[in-house]
Symmetry: C2
Subunit: 138 residues, 2 copies
C-alpha cells in the first residue's frame, strides 16, 4: 500500500483522539515521519516549520507539544532549568546531555541498569526514573 502524504501523521493524531488540523498534521509529520528518534524544543520545532515553508504560531507549537505529551506521543525531558525538551522516543530509556551545546542524545534502554532502587518516601509512589549523564566534548 502506497503511503499518501500525511497518512502516518494523520493516523497518529486520530489514534489519540485529536482533531487533525493543518497545524497538528504538519507538526505530527515533522515529528514522527522522519523515522528516527529525536529531541526538540518549541523553538527548534518552530524553525523546522518555517524551513518547511509553512507557518504555525509559537503558541500553537507549545500547545501542541503539551497535547502530544499528554496523549503519550511525546515525552518531556528536563535537563535544563530554562528550556523544555521533548523526545519522540517515549519508551523507557535515558539520556546523555551536553549542557554546553544544549544537545540531548538517547542512551539505548539496555545500556544503563539500576540496581537496588530505594523505597519511595512513605506516603508516595515511584513514577518515572530519569538518568541523565552529563557529558562534555573535548
Amino acid at each position: 500500500m502506497t503511503k499518501r502524504p500525511y497518512a502516518q501523521a494523520l493516523k497518529v493524531i486520530q489514534d489519540v483522539g485529536l482533531r487533525p488540523t493543518r497545524q497538528r498534521l504538519l507538526l505530527s509529520k515533522l515529528l514522527f515521519e522522519r523515522g528516527e528518534d529525536w529531541h526538540v524544543t518549541a523553538e527548534s520545532l518552530h524553525e523546522d516549520v518555517q524551513k518547511s515553508g509553512a507557518k504555525v504560531s509559537l503558541a500553537t507549537i507549545y500547545n501542541t507539544l503539551h497535547q502530544f505529551t499528554k496523549s503519550g506521543l511525546l515525552r518531556e525531558i528536563v535537563v535544563d532549568s530554562g528550556k523544555a525538551y521533548f523526545d519522540t522516543n517515549t519508551s523507557d530509556h535515558h539520556h546523555f546531555y551536553d549542557a554546553r551545546l544544549g544537545v540531548l542524545e538517547d542512551i539505548p534502554h539496555d545500556e544503563v541498569t539500576l540496581v537496588s532502587l530505594p523505597a519511595a518516601p512513605k506516603g508516595s509512589r515511584i513514577g518515572r526514573v530519569d538518568v541523565i549523564i552529563q557529558i562534555e566534548k573535548f
Copy 2:
C-alpha cells in the same frame, strides 16, 4: 571552643576566597549552619532572609548562589524546566522529586546503584550522573 555567631559561615566563605560581606555571611549562615542538607531556590532563600529580619536583594541572592556553586559549596539540581534548585549537599547522591509539590529529597548515596554505565559518545567524556526518581504522594 565556643562558636561565635557567623564563625562557621565566615570560615566557609574565606575558605573559597570570597569576601565576607554582610550578605554572603548571612546567606552562608542560612545555608550551612542548620546542620542538615537541604534544597533551596533563589525565591525560597530570599524568603528565609526576610524571615530572619534582614534584607538581601534577589539579584544578590542569584549571584551568590552561582558563586557558591562555582566554588563547590552548592550543587545545582535540574528537575524543573523553569526553576533552579540548589543543594547544600555536594557529595555524590541522587534525588526524589515530587513535581506536583516541587519538593526535592535526597536519596542516600548507597541506595542507588548504577551498573554498566554506557560509554560516552566519541569525542566526549562523562561528567556527572544524575538520577531523578519522580514520586507522587497518594
